[in-house]
Symmetry: C3
Subunit: 402 residues, 3 copies
């Protein structure tokens, strides 16, 4: 109960309202709004752990649209929707008549008559994913305004070309718990001044999205953390997002540094997040080729990119470079699945030993995602989240009866 | 409340019972039965708009079987099922063992032990879709009779080769609201004498089902409307259904005319429904070729049919011919997605200007479908719909808590 | 009510606890535990038939993972989950990132944060299916132990290379009802001494799993039945499971005989279960070839195996050999779909006449499966099934309101 009241009090302190606001990019939302989501997620997780039902909808559809593969996020979205009482309906573009020339505005309305949330993953095309989600959002606003829709569903970004907010918010929530202290200071305060190394790492696979590193640097810099981004030359992220991270660091009293050495980034780090991605210039070319359906060009690009990757096989998180971190004991993070050397590939992002040491931590990290998504839905669809959560606690229905 | 009581009173007046009756073809059901469905749909939409839960089932499966692509109807069926408390389970014939030689009777029973409704789309094969649905229905009757099934699931036609009742009933419900008046006369009465032009329109695509035009002429003629069907020579519908429409018009005091001119049909029309379809003779040939898996023959047929279509590019709903309609202000209808000239194709069924003017209307039209489907399920599974709806109103559970 | 109390009393008498125990192979569980499942299934079926809601979860995910096609079992699992209040989420390995190098342990945790049950079909690879399920089970145990999971989901074997417990338990439950008597003796007692002929039968198809015959002989021998297994030379089952059946027969006071004649097995049988399967040596070879992706080798194996099958077309259940059974009236069983001569194939496992005579019986048999699965979930997730069922009865919520 005390824990729950603590979260409630934190939400009250934010004085933020996300009612009918989507979080397509964390950097479009205020720090207070993000804090509200984190605490709502904590409160929902508390209720679930204590077998208190968080059902808020007696009926309602949760639409999921995945334009790329997913296990974790798909289950997280389904679980979050179910937790609040919604039923998932996949929008499978292959089985639908969408190709049949209908507009985004039309589809957005057609799937929303009885829907309360729409979750979208669209991360393959640089310059397209976030644009598509914004277009859906505007169509929903208009649909509500024009009286076509009784309610305006929440829109949840399940990974775009720019950001992966459900992942990075879950990552951050994991950190607040990992670095929480018993002295009454919240985990968020404790993270101030902590150093996180967001680094590129070698992977034998190709074309991994930029959304996680971009999302991490743009989020963690807002809470006074020392964010060190490292990658081999040529593996830049979208420049505007790197600039945004720099600005946020200045505003929050943290720091944002970019270097081309994994070791330098790991130096004295409290947290390391070694993860592969494709250079954004490659992603730009790839997008052009995909649009032209230039199979030959795509093959050549993949070959060149894998060769480029192979020049950086030394970018691996190992027992050796982990020794450079704070007391040799930095927290290892990953959005999973990681490319683990000698387990899932010959050589990859992380050595088997390091991964095994932190395996459970990465699972716990992933476990926050369903609650972050549920919190985003709740904050978007209920005008007063505090009142809503207190109602659930007071109602005290058992989630599992008996 | 007054609105709700109005619908209840209308249902009482019909004195119709659809308990354990499927609506595979609207023309197999009485006008009173159809009126009951329309008013149940209105009552359910009223409850949804007023945040009153319409959950009637604590558990139960809603089976969906789509033998052709769908967005709108798929989501409408899922939404309707969810609205009443049922969970959708897709019957994916590719992933099932159905090919493995089991009969329709067997499959119908195997998917129904805990099912309350089965929705089927089967519109590709002329002479097959409605026959298949009827066979499923008979198998369900027998399964209940033989004690295999505890309950006899409702069967909902989500589009067959002959009719598309969830579409046309939603279309008609839209009309009753659009033409409602404040003088106490119901929308249904106001439609008496109104002229609707159900016309063919040019589309660059091929093989569109006949179910919508067939369903529209066979339904609208039952309510005293002046139904004008227009198509280029050679684009006939199934003759028996055209005859049925004629008979209905006579019985209801309306009219049913067929002509080969879009302009003639539009003349003084209150409502226009310009929509492409394939000639039924082409559909017959196509069915034969599909059964023979004659790929070459199918390609040739498609080519011939598209060439035939191309001779009628002037069959387009435009600002020009809309001027022929009543006061130049007829209501434009479409089941969506429409082939919009210069938007979804170079030239299509409707000009961009006309579509944009009526875009919101077509969305509102589509929004009735989930409630029509829910009404069909309710009417089929509950012996006394009036009592059932009054129970929901009296129970007064919030759909969205708090 | 008396019927319900009878089941409750039977469960009490078993004094068995399956709490947090999976039934991957029936022979790993005690007879008392299996009896508990049978009676829980009966109690749930009673409640469903009497329109009493059996919802036990307000939220929770039921994960289904099908590595082979399925209609019956897929719907049974979905229905069982729904009956208890859970929502099905398919784990579609093609759409997930599982191929992306993640371990079984990782996937098992990632899909389980808010899951209450995982159902798996994995029957294609001899030596692999049951091993995979066991690995998932151990990962779930560890996930709970390590604090990654709030709850340890039940794991349900929906058919492996070794056993098909939801099928054989449903089969057995069907028998207890078919052979029940009005003298107060339970069906289970009445089955003591009854003879069942589990025989191979000819099918023009190839590679049918061994799980059903293996599961039947290992289950039915535990209840004092006379089990006669018959197959043409070369169609052996996994030797260890045949040995297990022999041991069980001795322990239970039943018998287990193997012969190479359908007629011999049918002699005086109370029940016949004629069903095709592939020789386990063929399945072993097939597994090796599948792993090597040796398409040519697989084709040749299929050809050889079908030729081998074709030598035994006389292994068909017909009006003729049914005369050999007890009073010529043995109960015919099949897990469906059956290969019915002149219906689903030219010549198959059973003649059209015999199948038609017992068609309804086979449907009733299949109808027990959803309740068996629900019973397995309930027994695994609720510490005290008796208390849980009595709570449902006392709560007396209507499943279909009004």
């Amino acid at each position: 109960m005390k824990e729950f009241e603590h979260y409630i009090s934190n939400i009250k302190n934010t004085d933020a309202s996300l009612f009918q606001k989507d979080i397509l990019l964390t950097w479009e939302r205020s720090v207070e709004e993000l804090k509200a989501v984190l605490n709502i997620a904590d409160a929902l997780k508390y209720l679930h752990s204590n077998n208190i039902s968080t059902r808020l909808f007696e009926s309602g559809i949760a639409v999921s649209l995945f334009r790329d593969n997913s296990t974790r996020t798909r289950f997280s979205f389904a679980s979050a929707s179910n937790l609040l009482g919604l039923s998932v309906q996949d929008l499978d573009e292959g089985k639908s008549q969408i190709a049949h020339g209908e507009t985004v505005r039309e589809t957005a309305n057609m799937i929303s008559f009885l829907s309360e949330v729409i979750g979208i993953r669209d991360d393959m095309y640089l310059g397209a994913g976030n644009a598509f989600m914004s277009e859906v959002g505007e169509a929903l606003d208009l649909g509500k305004e024009e009286g076509v829709l009784n309610q305006r569903p929440a829109l949840v970004n399940l990974q775009s070309d720019m950001d992966h907010p459900t992942q990075t918010m879950a990552d951050f929530l994991h950190l607040t718990h990992h670095f929480s202290s018993s002295d009454g200071r919240s985990g968020i305060d404790n993270l101030r001044g902590k150093k996180i190394a967001m680094t590129w790492a070698y992977s034998p696979s190709y074309g991994k999205p930029l959304s996680v590193p971009q999302g991490v640097i743009a989020l963690m810099t807002r809470f006074g953390m020392e964010v060190s981004l490292a990658y081999p030359e040529g593996y830049e992220l979208i420049p505007e997002i790197m600039e945004t991270a720099g600005t946020f660091a200045e505003e929050s009293g943290g720091s944002f540094n970019v270097c081309n050495s994994m070791d330098e980034a790991f130096q004295n780090a409290d947290i390391v997040y070694p993860k592969s991605w494709a250079p954004y210039k490659v992603m730009e070319q790839r997008t052009k080729l995909l649009r032209k359906q230039d199979t030959q060009g795509l093959k050549e690009l993949e070959k060149r990119c894998l060769e480029q990757n192979a020049e950086h096989k030394d970018w691996e998180c190992t027992e050796q470079n982990m020794k450079l971190t704070k007391d040799g004991e930095a927290l290892y993070m990953h959005c999973l699945p990681a490319d683990i050397s000698s387990i899932s590939c010959d050589q990859g992002e992380v050595s088997a030993g390091v991964f095994e040491k932190y395996r459970t931590d990465t699972y716990v990290e992933a476990g926050y995602k369903p609650f972050i998504i549920a919190a985003m839905i709740l904050a978007n669809r209920f005008e007063n989240p505090v009142e809503t959560l207190e109602y659930l606690m007071r109602r005290n229905d058992k989630r599992i009866h008996i």
